[in-house]
């Protein structure tokens, strides 16, 4: 016939790897977007795991953070019959049905970095809890601001679910813990650094009493710091953000950024790879004892929610940011 979907054994042989060797195990990861340091660092971590644990690590991302382009790649991995498929979905809802298809094809499916909660994913490898990130951002900024004052948030994609979730935590946490502080505006600059810088400048102008800025993603975190530096207001206006260490280093050193909240991204990639092996071999996700990686020391698995948490977020400062090469 014109289809081979009825031929037995055509699709991947997921059963073939039962507990045995990981030699011909393939674990694929589809990031939201290729070429940005964040996901490339995850890729590095995943590759490291692949070398140490002995499996094949595949990584392929779309050139724009676009759900449709991402879906094409996921489909090609389904076709390739990988054993485990990790996705960091651009749009969690849209990924759910595709993950179901993948599972039907005998592939272990999981999410990392961003969850697709209403899907069939077996595990979500979480970098840090939503609360942990939101609170760390708020605490770090308000420490610099002296516990009070006006601040604004420069976010990125308007529809990015995780950013919006963190912002919600920041709003609630600021209101409850820092009554003298106030979020005066939230703006969206897309993934465009220059736009983020310009918007931060506009915010400083329109709110003369503004003393804090948050860059909510890896492109706006350096952007807001740059704006403060350009305006010559380092030391008057404080910024924090979710920036990768290398891109934040100059600003952390100059003081225009008071801290970058992130996590060990390579470790997240490593953890993803490791989780993939566990899924394929029916291993115990809660048992990290065999892992020889101190960055994963605080990782823990919550059986009930299926979330594998890397640990609390890391605050990068001028002192430690140089230790990371991404």
């Amino acid at each position: 016939g014109c289809t081979s979907r009825n031929d037995p054994g055509q699709t991947a042989e997921p059963g073939a790897t039962d507990g045995a060797s990981t030699e011909d195990l393939t674990i694929a990861f589809v990031p939201k977007l290729q070429g940005i340091p964040y996901f490339e660092a995850m890729n590095t971590g995943g590759q490291q795991a692949a070398e140490e644990l002995g499996f094949e690590w595949l990584y392929q991302g779309p050139t724009t953070a676009d759900a449709a382009a991402q879906a094409d790649i996921v489909r090609s991995f389904i076709q390739q019959g990988v054993d485990v498929l990790f996705v960091a979905p651009n749009d969690p809802n849209s990924m759910a049905p595709l993950l179901e298809e993948a599972q039907a094809a005998g592939i272990h499916v999981a999410t990392t970095d961003t969850d697709a909660p209403d899907s069939v994913r077996e595990v979500f490898v979480n970098q840090a809890s939503v609360d942990g990130i939101g609170e760390a951002l708020t605490d770090t900024l308000l420490e610099a601001m002296g516990g009070s004052g006006q601040y604004a948030i420069v976010s990125c994609g308007e529809t990015a679910a995780n950013l919006n979730a963190w912002i919600e935590v920041q709003e609630a946490y600021t209101a409850s813990e820092y009554p003298d502080a106030e979020i005066v505006d939230i703006v969206y600059a897309g993934e465009d650094q220059a736009a983020a810088t310009q918007m931060a400048t506009d915010l400083m102008n329109s709110h003369p009493d503004l003393t804090g800025l948050v860059g909510e993603c890896t492109s706006s975190a350096p952007g807001v710091a740059q704006a403060v530096e350009d305006a010559g207001r380092t030391g008057e206006v404080f910024t924090v953000g979710l920036g990768t260490p290398q891109s934040m280093l100059p600003y952390l050193e100059s003081g225009s950024s008071s801290g970058s909240i992130l996590w060990d991204v390579e470790a997240l990639g490593y953890l993803t790879g490791w989780a993939g092996v566990q899924l394929a071999t029916d291993g115990d996700l809660g048992d990290l004892s065999g892992v020889d990686n101190e960055a994963l020391a605080e990782a823990e698995y919550d059986e009930s929610t299926g979330v594998l948490l890397l640990g609390p977020p890391t605050v990068f400062t001028a002192e430690n940011a140089g230790d990371y090469d991404y």
Binding site: T3, N6, Q34, Y59, P62, I73, R75, N93
Partner: protein, 377 residues
């Protein structure tokens, strides 16, 4: 020799040779379809060989080709929308289709998920809403005389902005919408389906009906004739007694309605309504225009066929899918850009060269300053 030989009535029965000559004389259209078909076959053959010698990372088979059709549907539909608009001539183009997709998708989700309307009514209203957005484009372009590029650049910004504002930049989803994925997902065809790959339902529920209707509209209705007429020579169309403004406006309304349908489709395809569904990344408009042009739609108007659109979209979707199987890693997704650029440039340069050789100097409309035909585009 006498003077009576000047008039020879057209022969009733013409030979193969004459038919062949006609076939060529009718321009590069059929050629484009043949060219695209040839490229598709070439792609399949090459991929088949690569698969045979084991250079692909996954099996290149009909199941995979069928599964990628889920992405084919919106691409082909929007390129079809561009066909209507570009063919209407006078610089017709629609940069706003992506924004219309976003906005109608949101409106559909609001009607279906949040207001709880029955599916059919919600779909109809969403399509009508898309038509309304298209009517704004059409009115500005056809009746007020704005160049289409400008109208739709403005509404591209405006509709996109409205979609984000009304949805408070959050995707809309919920149980109804998740269920609605069934309208797009792959199914087994009845009766003979067992021997065929699973084909995404959207091909039958969305693309096929629209394509059939569009074919009839373009080829078998007086509206189609009028559309080609205004696209070929607007002034002459006016003299021939065609209501050129209404005809042109309807092209934009059609594009809007199709974009509305794609809005509904993307909600199904992604099981959520995203306010940036048609505008994220480089957006849906530019690929749609690119596919239309690749499919042989003349940017100057008056020329364009459905077959070209369907084949061009298919070529691109399968080419992209093939690349992912051949080129691993980030380079794969990047190579898609390269391939699209090369195919587009190659096809248009090639067919332009052949058309030019064949009908060099085919008398252009006389440029009469101060009239519409005077504009060189």
């Amino acid at each position: 020799m006498t003077a009576t030989t000047t008039i020879t009535p057209p022969e009733q029965r013409r030979g193969q040779a004459a038919r062949a000559r006609d076939w060529f004389a009718s321009g590069g259209l059929k050629d484009r379809a043949t060219l695209l078909l040839g490229l598709i076959v070439l792609l399949l053959v090459v991929m088949g060989i690569l698969d045979g010698v084991g250079l692909t990372s996954g099996q290149f088979n009909s199941d995979y080709l069928a599964s990628t059709l889920i992405a084919y549907v919106p691409l082909a539909l929007l390129a079809l929308a561009e066909l209507f608009v570009i063919t209407s001539g006078r610089g017709g183009i629609d940069l706003s289709v992506g924004s219309m997709v976003s906005l109608t998708g949101i409106v559909f989700a609001m009607l279906y998920q949040q207001a709880g309307l029955p599916l059919a009514i919600a779909v109809v209203l969403a399509v009508l809403f898309g038509a309304l957005l298209g009517a704004i484009n059409g009115f500005l372009t056809a009746y007020l005389g704005y160049p289409a590029l400008i109208t739709t650049l403005a509404t591209f910004y405006a509709y996109r902005s409205i979609a984000l504002v009304v949805s408070e930049q959050r995707p809309i989803s919920g149980p109804e919408i998740s269920q609605f994925y069934n309208a797009a997902k792959a199914v087994e065809l009845p009766v003979i389906g067992g021997t065929l790959p699973l084909v995404p339902l959207g091909v039958f529920t969305f693309l096929l009906p629209v394509a059939i209707v569009a074919w009839f509209v373009l080829n078998r209705t007086s509206y189609g004739r009028k559309l080609y007429a205004i696209g070929t020579n607007d002034t002459a169309a006016q003299w021939a007694g065609i209501d050129t403004r209404r005809t042109r406006m309807m092209a934009y309304v059609t594009a809007g309605a199709i974009a509305g349908l794609v809005g509904v489709y993307t909600v199904a395809q992604f099981a959520s309504a995203r306010p940036d569904a048609g505008t994220s990344g480089s957006g849906m408009a530019l690929p749609a225009i690119t596919i239309a042009v690749l499919g042989g739609v003349a940017i100057t108007g008056g020329i364009g066929r459905l077959s070209g659109i369907l084949l061009a979209a298919l070529l691109i979707v399968w080419l992209n899918a093939s690349i992912l199987l051949v080129v691993p890693g980030n380079e794969g997704a990047q190579a898609q850009l390269l391939a699209l650029g090369l195919v587009l440039l190659g096809a248009s340069l090639l067919s332009n060269a052949t058309i030019r050789r064949r009908q060099r100097g085919l008398s252009k409309p006389l440029s009469v300053p101060g009239t519409a035909a005077g504009s060189t585009r």
